[in-house]
């Protein structure tokens, strides 16, 4: 499956280059025949340009940014869905985008799930309120692409995005990733746990929580994956992760409360197993909780989200402008500021465009060295196992 995608990607890339070559050739040919065609050329060129502008581009470089901005401004608006302002710095990303391009944004259902995002594309088809862009988890991005919900778009940075984090056909691109971390409220717990085994200590009785039940929350599933990696499991075998939580519950340390900003601030969930970017955001949000974020070196599990554009987007140009903005250095650094690792992180680091203060605020790069990602089939397998075993082993 993956090889097949790689091949397809290679093919598309070559096709892309070929097209460029052909364009170059055409230009040369035109130059040679300039003497003859000089009168008709501007008209033809103008017509071609007008045609290119009428349809949203397939490639980011098919259109200049200025033209894209102009077309987006004509649409005047961008519809987004399921972007909580305290999630991965989306609050600042949205306000910066609005200010920079003078576009209005309609934010629907901020707490929505990936499944609800795809459902909104389906049920609002043809409606002006339909979401233009979605930020899906990979499973739903793949399902949505196969269902024909998304438009193909190769943004200008497409080639720089790591291969494992994009769809070769151009239906979606990975946007940011995070790793599972412990967010510790040190106002309640002085002794910060460093490893998964530490969580079993009697000091942490009734103190360890997940972000929801893994039967409904993707971050909680990730917590199970990470626990599995740390306890002899692998991304294709999460059984040890389920056993870990069963034992954690048995010793009385696990509390089945869904951690949210309120429980974290109040200290009701003093140790939260959740994405690093969420836990890092709480440091600033709740200074009195004195939150420390640890990415456990054993059992580092990461996951990325995916940007996709609605195939029937009511504002197709604004949708593409949004993606160009997100993959610009400015957009990428805004994500990093929220504690998540943007898709182009390695490229940014190589070009040394990341401010030092921003890097210093993150857990050390070495904690992320062994981070593992699960593919869609491993996800499906893990979820099926969790769905059948979690309720009786860990739930009540």
């Amino acid at each position: 499956m993956e090889d097949y995608q790689e091949q397809e990607y290679e093919f598309l890339r070559r096709l892309d280059e070929e097209r460029l070559d052909r364009r170059k050739l055409l230009k040369r040919g035109l130059a040679a025949g300039a003497g003859l065609t000089i009168l008709s050329l501007p008209e033809a060129a103008l017509a071609a340009r007008a045609k290119a502008l009428a349809n949203p581009p397939l490639h980011g470089k098919d259109m200049t940014l200025a033209d894209l901005v102009k077309a987006a401004k004509k649409e005047g608006k961008l519809n987004v869905i399921a972007l909580p302002h305290d999630w991965a710095n989306y609050g600042e990303i949205i306000s910066t985008f609005k200010k920079k391009y003078g576009l209005a944004m309609d934010e629907a259902n901020p707490q929505g799930s990936s499944s609800e995002e795809n459902q909104a594309i389906r049920s609002l088809k043809g409606d002006s309120r339909a979401p233009d862009v979605v930020d899906d988890s990979p499973a739903f991005a793949i399902a949505g692409a196969n269902e024909g919900l998304f438009a193909k778009y190769f943004n200008t940075k497409f080639k720089t995005i790591p291969r494992s984090m994009k769809d070769g056909r151009g239906f979606w691109v990975g946007d940011y990733w995070g790793a599972i971390s412990f967010g510790v409220n040190t106002a309640v717990v002085q002794n910060v746990p460093k490893t998964w085994a530490d969580l079993m200590k009697p000091d942490y009785r009734n103190k360890v929580a997940l972000n929801g039940s893994p039967l409904t929350s993707g971050s909680a599933v990730a917590g199970v994956f990470a626990a599995a990696l740390a306890n002899g499991g692998s991304i294709s075998n999460v059984e040890p992760g389920i056993e870990f939580f069963a034992k954690l519950k048995q010793v009385g340390n696990f509390i089945p409360i869904q951690a949210n900003p309120q429980t974290i601030a109040s200290g009701q969930t003093p140790i939260v197993i959740d994405w690093d970017y969420l836990n890092l955001a709480y440091i600033k949000e709740f200074p009195s909780a004195k939150i420390k974020v640890v990415v456990p070196s054993s059992g580092a599990y990461g996951a990325y989200y995916c940007q996709a554009i609605n195939a029937d987007a009511p504002h197709p140009f604004a949708a593409r402008l949004w993606q160009e903005f997100l993959y610009s250095d400015q957009g990428q650094l805004l994500w990093l500021k929220g504690g998540s690792h943007p898709a182009l992180f390695n490229d940014l680091a190589k070009r040394k465009v990341i401010p030092k203060a921003l890097l210093a605020a993150l857990p050390s790069a070495s904690s992320y060295a062994n981070v593992k990602f699960a593919g869609p089939s491993q996800q499906t397998k893990a979820k099926a196992l969790i769905a059948s075993e979690w309720p009786t082993k860990v739930g009540s």
């Binding site: 799930s113 039940s213 009385g252 089945p256 979690w390």
Partner: protein, 276 residues
């Protein structure tokens, strides 16, 4: 003709949605007919969800029913000042509708790990509710039952009060003048008169707890697997996405409620025989 609005209402808001759920329960993702979803209900973990839901509903219905009856009787019977009753019914009217997220929050703030009551017991009396000795937790089945009782008892009080009013003072006087003890009066007269209403009220409480969603969800985030919460997971979760299995679970709930009615109707008939 006067009943037309009722039938229209029942059709649009009861029969139509229920019919759709029933049809959906027998379909697969492609829309073909299948028994697979229904068969799933008898397997783990779905069976476990039904056991949990039925257990919690039965416990809170019976316990809530008994406690509600006793409290209502104490407030209504001869000799209790009039204001007690009006205060109790007003309070019950409010408390019976106090459910969902606010109720869950109220309990977390009092009996949660850091709740006011928990902290008081721990700091002032040295009783650590959540400690290894007692091992209490609000976020378990017991916790959910305690929280449900908060609205089940007042609902029982409201529903049973008119029936208690129906217990005439003369009957009691007649019984005692014939030499009956209090126990004999209750056993041969009181309970028998109250039984039809008592059964009806308990069935109502059962349904009330069985279908409650927001309270349990807000309290445990799905840690205690109850059928309505799990249906929510299947319909809009990030993890389990299988709307037809959700509909099959909903269909299973219809069956449980129908079974409740099948037990209730003959019991009701037997217990109200004396009325005819």
């Amino acid at each position: 003709m006067g009943t037309a609005p009722f039938f229209l209402y029942a059709f649009l808001f009861l029969l139509l949605p229920a019919g759709q759920v029933t049809v959906g329960a027998f379909e697969n993702q492609k829309g073909d007919f299948t028994f697979h979803n229904i068969a799933q209900l008898f397997h783990q973990p779905n069976r476990h969800y039904f056991e949990n839901s039925i257990e919690i509903s039965l416990v809170t219905a019976i316990l809530g029913g008994i406690l509600g009856l006793v409290i209502a009787y104490a407030a209504i019977r001869e000799g209790t000042p009039r204001w007690v009753r009006s205060t109790l019914t007003t309070f019950s009217g409010v408390a019976a509708n106090f459910a969902g997220v606010p109720l869950a929050f109220a309990f977390v703030a009092t009996l949660g790990v850091l709740g006011v009551v928990t902290a008081f017991l721990k700091n002032q009396l040295g009783i650590d509710l959540y400690g290894p000795g007692i091992g209490f937790s609000l976020f378990t089945k017991t916790g959910v039952e305690i929280v449900y009782l908060y609205f089940q008892i007042p609902l029982m009080i409201l529903v049973i009060a008119p029936a208690i009013d129906g217990l005439k003072r003369e009957w009691r006087e007649a019984a005692s003048s014939l030499g009956a003890s209090a126990f004999q009066f209750w056993w041969h007269v009181g309970i028998r008169i109250l039984m039809p209403s008592l059964l009806g009220a308990i069935v109502l409480l059962f349904g009330n707890a069985f279908s409650a969603y927001a309270t349990a969800y807000a309290l445990t985030g799905g840690g205690v697997g109850l059928v309505p919460v799990v249906i929510g997971f299947y319909l809009n979760g990030n993890v389990l996405s299988d709307p037809h299995l959700g509909q099959a679970l909903a269909f299973g709930m219809f069956v449980v409620l129908a079974a409740m009615m099948l037990i209730y109707v003959p019991l009701q008939r037997i217990s109200s025989r004396w009325q005819r």
